[in-house]
């Protein structure tokens, strides 16, 4: 089985977010980057599937050279090789185009990625890639087993779960508990040194330009209202918070 895992290089969940260039660019200074947590689940499941029934796992990142430390980590976890499309991942359509361009050159049985990235949280790349390649895409996938050419999938739906059977090839957006995150061991880190990492140039153009980023307003202080002052509470909710 040939598996392609698409990963994002995103600010750590605890990073302090700020912008530069009149709020049009994300300020990378002092920010630690990690592999997107949902992508990490996808990669872990891919490595498990490979351990179970053989095959290869290729990691794909659409990103600039500073992504390579995260790509090396994926190789240390157990991917066999990696491809980096050398450009800034500006919007979902552009990224999906790059993934589809790579995927169309090889016959991958599975294209896995996180259900969404944790920087822009678009959550549409898997759908776009499926559409561009003309194969089914499903998300968010919580469980994945493969039997020959058949995938058994559990998908989260509003208020419940759905069990699905589908035929490979597939594009899947993954989330927990599809697998447990893997921690690279020292042997993995050593072998990752020599695993191939191919850099290719992008195709097509990005369609969007960021005009301005805005942070949510800072949280105000908590107001405590005594239990016997219900009217005051209602008044505040109506006139101050304007939620009633």
């Amino acid at each position: 089985m040939k598996i392609l895992v698409c990963i994002t290089n995103v600010p750590d969940t605890t990073a302090k977010i700020s912008f530069t260039d009149s709020d049009t660019k994300f300020n990378k200074a002092g920010v630690t980057y990690i592999c997107g947590p949902y992508d990490d689940y996808a990669l872990s499941r891919a490595v498990e599937l490979k351990e179970q029934s053989g095959g290869t796992v290729t990691v794909l990142n659409v990103g600039e050279a500073d992504s390579e430390q995260v790509i090396r980590k994926c190789l240390a976890i157990g991917a066999d090789d990696a491809i980096r499309v050398n450009c800034e991942p500006t919007d979902s359509y552009f990224v999906a185009q790059q993934i589809a361009a790579i995927a169309s050159q090889e016959n991958y049985d599975l294209i896995l990625m996180g259900r969404e990235s944790i920087d822009f949280n678009g959550g549409v790349v898997h759908g776009l890639v499926g559409e561009m390649l003309g194969i089914p895409s499903l998300s968010p996938v919580m469980k994945l087993d493969i039997d020959g050419k058949t995938a058994r999938i559990t998908r989260e739906i509003e208020g419940g779960k759905e069990d699905i059977e589908a035929t490979l090839p597939l594009v899947l957006g993954c989330q927990e508990p599809i697998a447990e995150w893997k921690i690279p061991n020292m042997r993995g880190i050593m072998t990752a040194r020599t695993k191939p990492l191919k850099v290719v140039e992008p195709t097509g153009d990005d369609l969007t330009v960021t005009r301005k980023f805005e942070l949510p307003a800072p949280k105000g202080a908590v107001k405590m209202i005594a239990a016997d002052e219900v009217e005051k509470l209602v008044d505040l909710l109506k006139n101050e918070a304007k939620v009633l």
Binding site: E68, A76, I183, P184, N185, I189
Partner: protein, 398 residues
């Protein structure tokens, strides 16, 4: 053995005030992050319970082996890591950030058991023991200290007698980390000519026992014991052929002390990180206690000492990589870093107030652990004497 899982999540972040990360490679950072993740997943959740009950979490030996914690600087052909000394140091920092007892297990296995077998052993001995020690299938221990010879190991009484086709080993060793659970022991003993030799004793050899030392208030999650040799037959192939004299064990100690210098820094970082968070959250006199000058002074001093210790470690690691680190340079780092870690633990405990004495926070555990770390591998004062000799050329041990 089942361990009770702590309800607290380990959210440790390491300080890097002087951007020392810029001196590390991406691979170093990946190693550090991976070991940190390992500690958060495997050690932090259970360590408090293990220490409270003084139970050695034996299952972690195999897990540390799988992770590649044991003997990371020994070449890969023996099943070990093949990494550099900065990598080794960062690993020890992260493990001891979790617990000094777990770092002790790793130091003993890597620097005191695998290192002498690699550096002084025959090719057969290397192939026989190193892969199993690296994977954690075997646990090893290192017997140098005796009941009557601690700071002065050259006086050791444990002895080897040549019986023609084998040696007879007699004597006892005291305070030996990992001993009660060890599969093999690297033991230092005097031959009939009074020369110190290294031998590999295996569990199950007749006359060899490893009674456990109970009642420790320090390193409670590490098992410590004695090694007792009563006419133990040691096959000749179990002698380490390529070393003679006390410099053998001392070379091992150089490596372990190097790891301790990094490890103690890890314990200091954990105390600092916990104290900083606590000071910002804890309200007294209607303000976070972090807003009081006396608390800020403590935190500022902690960060200063941690930053200095980080630089010492990094530079010493580069000297180790170049094969240039001297014993005296390692002494300086071991002594300094353990001392600052102890001071930071004590100050951090103050900042945590009453909570600081409980197992809710890691402080008291680190503080008690560090009382062993300041004693083993050369006490504080012995390291001062080593440096004193280096400075003056006059030895003041006796």
């Amino acid at each position: 053995m089942n361990f009770h899982h702590s309800s607290r999540t380990d959210i440790f972040e390491s300080p890097d005030f002087y951007e020392i990360d810029d001196l590390l490679t991406d691979e170093h950072k990946l190693i550090r992050q991976s070991v940190r993740d390992f500690v958060k997943k495997e050690i932090s959740p259970i360590i408090e319970d293990a220490c409270q009950r003084a139970v050695f979490p034996e299952h972690l030996v195999k897990k540390m082996g799988e992770m590649g914690i044991f003997g990371p600087t020994i070449p890969q052909e023996y099943g070990a890591g093949g990494l550099d000394y900065i990598s080794y140091g960062l690993m020890m920092q992260e493990i001891e950030r979790g617990d000094s007892g777990m770092r002790s297990t790793a130091s003993v296995q890597g620097s005191l058991v695998m290192f002498p077998i690699y550096a002084f052993g025959s090719e057969d001995q290397r192939h026989k023991y190193l892969p199993k020690l690296a994977s954690g299938d075997f646990l090893g221990c290192f017997g140098l200290t005796e009941p009557d010879f601690g700071s002065n190991p050259s006086g050791m009484k444990t002895n080897l007698k040549d019986m023609g086709d084998h040696f007879l080993l007699n004597g006892s060793k005291m305070w030996i980390s990992n001993a009660p659970k060890a599969d093999i022991a690297v033991v230092w003993a005097k031959n009939e000519q009074g020369r110190v030799k290294g031998v590999i004793a295996e569990r199950g050899m007749e006359g060899f026992s490893t009674p456990e030392i109970h009642g420790k208030w320090s390193l409670r999650a590490s098992c410590t014991g004695e090694l007792v040799f009563d006419n133990v037959k040691i096959p000749k192939e179990n002698i380490l052929p390529n070393i003679d004299g006390l410099k053998g064990p001392l070379k091992c100690l150089d490596n372990a002390r190097y790891g301790i210098a990094w490890g103690a820094l890890g314990a200091a970082m954990d105390c600092y990180d916990s104290a900083r968070r606590y000071a910002l959250e804890r309200i007294q006199f209607d303000k976070p206690i972090a807003s009081f000058q006396l608390i800020q002074k403590k935190l500022a001093e902690m960060l200063t000492e941690i930053t200095k210790a980080q630089l010492v470690c990094w530079r010493l690691g580069m000297l180790k990589n170049a094969g240039k680190a001297s014993s005296a340079q390692i002494s300086l780092a071991k002594r300094n870093n353990v001392e600052i870690a102890l001071n930071i633990a004590r100050e951090a405990r103050q900042i945590h107030g009453g909570m600081g004495i409980t197992g809710e926070y890691p402080i008291m555990r680190h503080m008690m652990n560090l009382e062993s770390v300041v004693t083993y591998e050369g006490t504080q004062d012995i390291h001062l004497l080593i440096l004193g000799k280096e400075i003056t050329g006059i030895q003041a041990f006796v």
